[in-house]
């Protein structure tokens, strides 16, 4: 149930169906709450395993209640307490082993609850207008089964606006059709595309340690680099497609988490399109406050760009570190922060060299965009080694080829990504330019029915034939 399985989709559709028996927000909230509790119950049958999670939720609500009662000066301490308890429960390796709880307990979804709880505490503490969040609303927001496993990280006001609306948002045949099509697309992405990409990546990984000819190993290395970002995208965005569609059928609009990330022409642009809700959260609650705080202390206009670069580094370093508890993720964070910072410095240098107009003209140049797109993809693929591999695997992979061989492989990845992604953008634009009755043919409901039927059949048949559990959602581990 904690993956994009048939069971999860059917469970979600059943919950959506029952939820729509009445338009009353009370009924819809009861259904969402019961469905979320049942969902948790299906994930673990041991009530003891839920105790730390329940404790974390109660701590969050208690702190929120304190702030609502006027203890907003204690907000920093509240945030610190939430962070410390989160780090402790997640067993970050820099803490002593003896400090951890030594019984198996449930941490699935904890990261996403952590973001929601912090968001509530900060917004309530900063809030100009006073508001009270009931325990029921708090629980609905934090353990909502559609966003529990891997997000997206929704703001409370957006959630409340739809969930507690007296007049719920419209749900007609067109919307239902769109959501069903999206659900099928998501199911196909996770259960077929991601599964195939994962198999290709694992085969390539196995080949790196086998006695093979150099040309075969070079091709394995090439596949190893290029496949993982595609797998991760299909796996994560597919799951997000399913939950966004399920939530919409329950008359709640979840925020988008992806916006064609491999179309990004720079690493800065990439993080505006990849895991959008996470990067937005960190920009809102880390980048902006940090930049403001630093600018208050260092009152120099010339230092502003430097401070901006520094804040970018810290923000995206934290994004990297958030993904895992081990030292590999520290490197992943450094590479994310480093990539963003270098990208920002590059922009600043070009702007000062070419002038604003000159830089804008360059940024619109198709060759420059294609070049940047290829580089962004290659850099992201490179950083992902510290995301999916442990040190032993990293050592095995990198020692399988010489430095010169690796440089050649990276160059090949860059050029291939540049050409393929440019071609894809071109083909996509051409296809979308084919219109009928003033709208693109390929996004019409007729086209959607055709490819939803094809993808649905393909996903169903392959899932049945392969006889294996639905692939895990990578981001549920974080």
């Amino acid at each position: 149930m904690d993956n994009a399985s048939f069971q999860f989709v059917i469970f979600g559709l059943a919950a959506a169906l029952v939820s729509n028996f009445s338009r009353s927000y009370v009924w819809r909230s009861i259904v969402l709450f019961v469905a979320s509790i049942v969902f948790l119950g299906l994930l673990s049958h041991d009530p003891i395993a839920f105790l730390p999670l329940a404790g974390f939720l109660l701590l969050g609500y208690a702190l929120l209640f304190l702030i609502e009662q006027g203890w907003s000066r204690a907000m920093a301490w509240c945030i610190l307490a939430v962070i410390l308890v989160y780090v402790w429960l997640k067993k970050y390796t820099f803490l002593p082993e003896g400090a951890f709880l030594h019984f198996p307990y449930f941490t699935l979804g904890l990261s996403y609850i952590f973001f929601r709880v912090l968001h509530l505490i900060i917004e309530t503490g900063d809030g100009a207008e006073k508001r009270h969040i009931s325990l029921g609303a708090y629980l609905l927001y934090t353990i909502n089964f559609t966003t529990f496993v891997s997000g997206p990280i929704q703001r409370y006001d957006e959630f409340a606006k739809d969930q507690f609306a007296v007049e719920p948002i419209v749900l007609g045949p067109r919307t239902i059709g769109l959501q069903l099509e999206r659900m099928i697309r998501g199911f196909f992405k996770v259960n077929v595309l991601a599964m195939i990409f994962q198999a290709m990546q694992q085969d390539a990984l196995a080949q790196m340690s086998q006695p093979l000819a150099l040309n075969v190993k070079l091709f394995s290395a090439f596949r190893l680099i290029i496949i993982y970002p595609l797998f991760l995208y299909a796996n994560f965005s597919g799951y997000i497609d399913i939950v966004i569609a399920l939530a919409r059928l329950m008359r709640v609009r979840l925020p988008e988490n992806f916006d064609r990330p491999f179309s990004a022409s720079s690493f800065l642009d990439f993080w505006n399109r990849w895991h959008i809700t996470l990067s937005t959260w960190l920009k809102t609650y880390v980048y902006n406050p940090l930049l403001i705080a630093l600018m208050r202390r260092i009152d120099s206009t010339s230092m502003e760009p430097v401070l901006g670069v520094f804040c970018f580094f810290v923000t995206f370093f934290l994004i990297g570190v958030w993904h895992g508890r081990t030292s590999e993720f520290v490197i992943f964070g450094v590479l994310q922060g480093g990539g963003i910072s270098i990208n920002k410095i590059w922009q600043l240098v070009l702007t000062s060299g070419l002038g604003r107009k000159g830089y804008k003209a360059l940024a619109k140049n198709p060759a420059y965009i294609a070049f940047g797109r290829g580089l962004t993809f290659s850099w992201f693929a490179f950083t992902l080694f510290w995301f999916w591999a442990n040190w032993k695997q990293i050592d095995t992979v990198f020692s399988a080829l010489s430095v010169v061989d690796w440089l050649g492989v990276w160059l090949a990845v860059w050029l291939t990504a540049m050409v393929i992604l440019a071609l894809w953008e071109f083909v996509r634009a051409k296809l979308l330019s084919i219109t009928a009755f003033g709208a693109p043919v390929f996004t019409s409901r007729y086209a959607r029915v055709v490819y939803a039927s094809a993808l649905g059949l393909g996903a169903f048949v392959i899932t049945v034939l392969l006889n294996q559990p639905a692939p895990d959602i990578v981001y549920k581990a974080f």
Binding site: F6, Q7, I10, F11, E167, I169, V170, L171, G172, P173, R174, T175, G177, L178, R182, M195, I196, Q198, A199, M200, Q202, D203, A206, Q207, S209, Q210, P211, L212, V216, D241, I244, R248, R253, L254, E256, F258, D259, T443, R445, Y446, V449, V450, Y451, A452, S453, A454, L457, G458, F460, V461, I462, T463, V464, L465, L466, N467, Q468, P469
Partner: protein, 420 residues
């Protein structure tokens, strides 16, 4: 409509769907599905055609007194979906031996091989089987004249091998080579495998004309779902049973063939199979597999006793299936599994009674992607696989395990721990 705005229809009143769309859209969906199924079927027929004639015309499969046996002097041809058209020519004794039965030529060292489908060279032209290649390799290594008389027969488990062992000894062998696979251990006590084991039917090579199509498979599974009181269980049922059905599904074959070409995907899928199929890979065999091993022990004892009485050395080898070589090649497998486990068990049985066991499994660690030398869905080795097996057998047989075939003074490779 982009992904972003498709979700944000918000509070605006939704326009009604035109009436024609209530008919047109489902029709479009159905047409797409029909077109896809038709296309896959077409690809299946073009790329994975199976001939209408089968080796069953040459094999008696319903005589419990003899087990499966070939009709003497018969010739059949078969084209499995994944293989070429293969001829099966049986001599006057009903063996696919490539020679007539009878006494061996003077001065020739004769190996008689027994076993099941892998030894027979199922789905491979006889001259490309390891049974045909091995004598020449051995002759080169040992510098002596060697012939291999192949008495292997598809669907012949150890019980029947033991029962008909007098035929093996009648061929006056200098050495008996008994080739085993996990299938032989699973069905050790069987007489007519297809009749004795319903599961074995599903794993037996599919016969053209007897296979349900993809639609039949899917529809039968959908019926299961709707027949269930709990739909979630129904879906789990569909998924858990699909593998068995899929192995006999012609239309599904191109999909499975493509998916199983991936080593990791194949390993993942195989480990999902029920215990009677994948249980031999478990580090701790189940009670069912322990029973199979005990049954195998019984027939191995009988065969070894007959060899001892006749003064003929018996050499046993376990040939790995596609899954075993994939796992060995990866060098890493999930906890609780061990691709060498069955090898160890069989060696223990054979050496326990004083027989000789040669171990070729560890050598697959040094062969890149060895599973590519097997038919992905059918699971038997292809011509390349037979060539590799022949090379490994020749090396193992001449490295000291069999004194009469030894080259130099190398240590016998009978313990099989090296190179794991």
């Amino acid at each position: 409509m982009s992904q972003l705005n498709a979700n944000n229809l918000g509070n605006t009143k939704e326009a009604r769907l035109p009436r024609r769309d209530w008919i047109l859209l489902p029709m479009l969906g159905l047409m797409t599905i029909a077109l896809m199924v038709g296309s896959i079927r077409l690809v299946s027929v073009r790329m994975f055609a199976a001939a209408k004639i089968t080796p069953r015309d040459c094999i008696v499969t319903n005589d419990p007194s003899t087990g499966f046996r070939a009709i003497p002097n018969s010739v059949c041809r078969e084209k499995l979906p994944e293989s070429q058209l293969i001829e099966y020519r049986f001599n006057s004794c009903g063996h696919r031996a490539g020679m007539e039965c009878g006494s061996k030529p003077l001065g020739t060292y004769r190996i008689v091989m027994v076993g099941s489908s892998m030894g027979l060279g199922y789905s491979v032209a006889r001259e490309k089987t390891f049974a045909a290649l091995l004598p020449a390799e051995l002759a080169t290594l040992c510098q002596r004249k060697i012939e291999l008389y192949n008495e292997s027969m598809a669907g012949r488990p150890p019980r029947i091998v033991a029962r008909r062992f007098s035929e093996v000894l009648a061929a006056k062998p200098d050495l008996v080579l008994w080739q085993l696979t996990s299938w032989d251990i699973e069905l050790a006590a069987s007489v007519l495998p297809e009749h004795d084991s319903p599961q074995a039917v599903n794993r037996a090579p599919s016969l053209p004309g007897e296979t349900p199509g993809l639609l039949a498979l899917v529809s039968s599974r959908v019926k299961v779902v709707f027949a269930m009181k709990r739909p979630l269980d129904g879906i789990a049922e569909v998924i858990s049973h699909a593998q068995a059905d899929s192995s006999v599904t012609n239309t599904a074959l191109p999909l499975l063939h493509f998916l199983y070409e991936s080593q990791s995907q194949y390993v993942k899928s195989y480990l999902m199979l029920p215990d009677h199929e994948a249980g031999f890979l478990k580090a701790q065999p189940s009670a069912e597999w322990q029973t199979h091993l005990a049954e195998f022990d019984m027939y191995a004892t009988e065969i070894e006793a007959q060899c001892k009485a006749a003064g003929v050395p018996l050499v046993v080898v376990l040939l790995p299936n596609r899954m075993q070589v994939a796992m060995i090649s990866m060098g890493d497998w999930p906890a609780g599994y061990d691709p060498y486990k069955l090898d160890d068990e069989v060696r223990s049985v054979i050496t326990g009674h004083g027989g000789t066991f040669i171990d070729i499994l560890p050598a697959f660690r040094n062969i890149p992607n060895p599973e590519q030398h097997y038919f992905p869905v059918d699971g038997h080795p292809n011509a390349d696989g037979h060539r590799i097996i022949s090379g490994l057998l020749a090396k193992a047989l001449t490295s000291g395990a069999v004194p009469s075939l030894s080259v130099g003074q190398q240590q016998p490779n009978t313990q099989g721990e090296q190179g794991r």
